[in-house]
């Protein structure tokens, strides 16, 4: 298999995010754009075990999206990886679509579905109200431990999410139960919906807080594929501890007029802004 060019994959992810959000007319841009490199690595880096033709395969690594408003980056990555047709991306947030505004995982019993639409393959959790996926990931890691399974649980959360007390409850329990295959990746983009994180609710010293909760902490540049890759070689060194990766990213990464501006947290591009953004992305200028 030829080595996949991750920067190009990431650029395509960003292009799709812009298109999807412009077509939807609502949604969250900054976080999805900022974490595109991570998602390129997760679904195309060859490290994380997922199967697009067998999405619920028992041995898969679980990718939990706790910051459910990052949905466009996950959806795009799943479609590009073959979990469902790419053309479906244009249905984001539209009536009857499997691509809900925030991620949803719905359990079926004996073929009984109680959801207004079909389940999107590859989605592991329901997310949106912040903090919930962090606990769900702990439950999944406990389940894996109980069953003696070796897969990893990779939970992607955001820094703003850490305002929620539930995240800290979850960290304590992950630490108590020594969930060594559980990796929390925290997108440290320093913005949230109403402003910069240091103004809305300061989090520093974030690494000290996490360490004191019993997590093994690593800080990386979320736009550097070597550093993203290092998460997985590093994490195996501490089998008895859950991990927290503080992933520094630029919100809105790749589009100069979106970068580092909290106003893009919860806003989509207009059609004209989308064209400008796509031109910049196609120019390969990812700053």
């Amino acid at each position: 298999m030829p080595r996949i060019d991750l920067p190009i994959v990431a650029r395509d992810i960003r292009k799709n995010i812009i298109r999807m959000l412009a077509l939807a007319g609502s949604g969250h841009t900054a976080g999805a754009m900022g974490s595109a490199d991570l998602f390129a690595y997760l679904y195309f880096g060859g490290e994380v075990k997922v199967r697009s033709n067998d999405p619920m395969w028992e041995g898969r690594d679980r990718i939990v999206l706790s910051c459910g408003h990052y949905a466009p980056v996950l959806y795009t990555s799943l479609a590009m990886a073959g979990f469902f047709p790419l053309k479906e991306l244009s249905t984001l947030r539209k009536l009857g679509s499997r691509l809900q505004g925030h991620v949803v995982r719905h359990m079926e019993y004996d073929g009984r579905r109680k959801l207004a639409h079909d389940q999107l393959p590859g989605v592991e959790n329901t997310g949106g109200p912040l903090g919930q996926g962090v606990s769900v990931a702990v439950g999944m890691a406990l389940a894996a431990k109980l069953k003696g399974e070796k897969h990893r649980i990779i939970c992607i959360g955001s820094d703003g999410e850490m305002n929620e007390g539930q995240t800290w409850e979850a960290y304590m329990s992950a630490s108590k139960y020594k969930l060594g295959r559980l990796i929390f990746i925290i997108d440290r983009n320093k913005i949230q919906i109403s402003g910069n994180t240091n103004e809305v609710m300061p989090l520093e010293h974030i690494e000290k807080k996490l360490e004191s909760f019993g997590l093994r902490v690593k800080e990386i540049d979320g736009h550097n594929f070597d550093e993203i890759s290092s998460i997985f070689t590093w994490s195996v060194m501490y089998p008895e501890q859950p991990k927290a990766v503080i992933m520094n990213t630029v919100p809105g990464k790749g589009v100069s007029f979106m970068e580092n501006d909290y106003l893009w947290h919860g806003a989509p591009p207009t059609k004209d802004q989308a064209i400008d953004a796509l031109v910049e992305l196609i120019g390969g200028n990812s700053k």
């Binding site: 995982r105 359990m107 329901t126 606990s135 702990v138 439950g139 999944m140 389940a143 329990s173």
Partner: protein, 321 residues
Amino acid sequence: MKYLVDDISTVEMKGDRDGFGEAMMDLGKRNEKVVALCADLRESLRLESFANEYSSRFFEVGVAEQNLIGVASGLALEGFIPFAASYAVFSPGRSWDQIRVSVAYTNANVKVVGGHTGISVGPDGPTHQAMEDIAMMRVLPNMVVVVPCDAAQARKATMALAEYKGPAYLRLSRPKNAVFTSKGATFEIGKAQILREGKDLTVVGCGPVLYAVLLAAEELKGEIDVEVINMHTIKPLDIETLVRSAKKTGKVLTVEEHQISGGLGGAVAEVLSEMLPTKMKRLGMRDAFGESGDPDELLSKYGLDREAMVRAIREISVVSK
């Protein structure tokens, strides 16, 4: 079907939470998919034995009800059948958003167990007396809501909920209550039980307070012929049994240790007002918080003891004649 013990005047006293604890031990042995989680109340929720006997399948998350529910959801998504227990004022009280999103919307096979419900919690006072939990839970799509009436039924309900695939809420109380259902009585989720047949008036109740209803009905024998329905499943409500009985008697009294809004009384009123408008009265907390006291004193003061039932039954019978 005969649901009652032979003589309801001499009954064993036992906590419905003890029935739950016994069922969990049974499930621990029978079904390795069953796991239990608790938020620092394992003795109170009668999970101590399960925690000791099946320690690898018991998770103590500390005083953290939001995480309790989220972790339970994660276990359910991986195929386990988690029973997540705390006091109802804390869960669903503090964990309702987690229940809504990670359990109900996700349709996760989590059994939320809320203990210490009703005014009969007693001396701990209103902070610990859950009087709103049925309303909170029954409004959630995909959620089943079960309120057992005694220890024997709590045990059967727990077993039934482990079999049932999907989100559910089990409501338990604190005191030792009369065990008035028989050992052989069946339990089926969503199937109401006619504990006593009558033609003048229907009392629809749930939980241990039904014992006072039965005593009141007995006291009124010869004067008013009371039908008593144990509506142990608030959701899905057994509409057929309810409407059939209301049609027969023409008068319905609801009884619950819960606010009169949103709980059993609310559910019954919703159904009857649409399908068969019927003269009704609701007994329960009347938009108020309670206070500390002995359970019996509180049940008496807040109109949920036998005397109050007799009064209410007479009142509604007279008014509508």
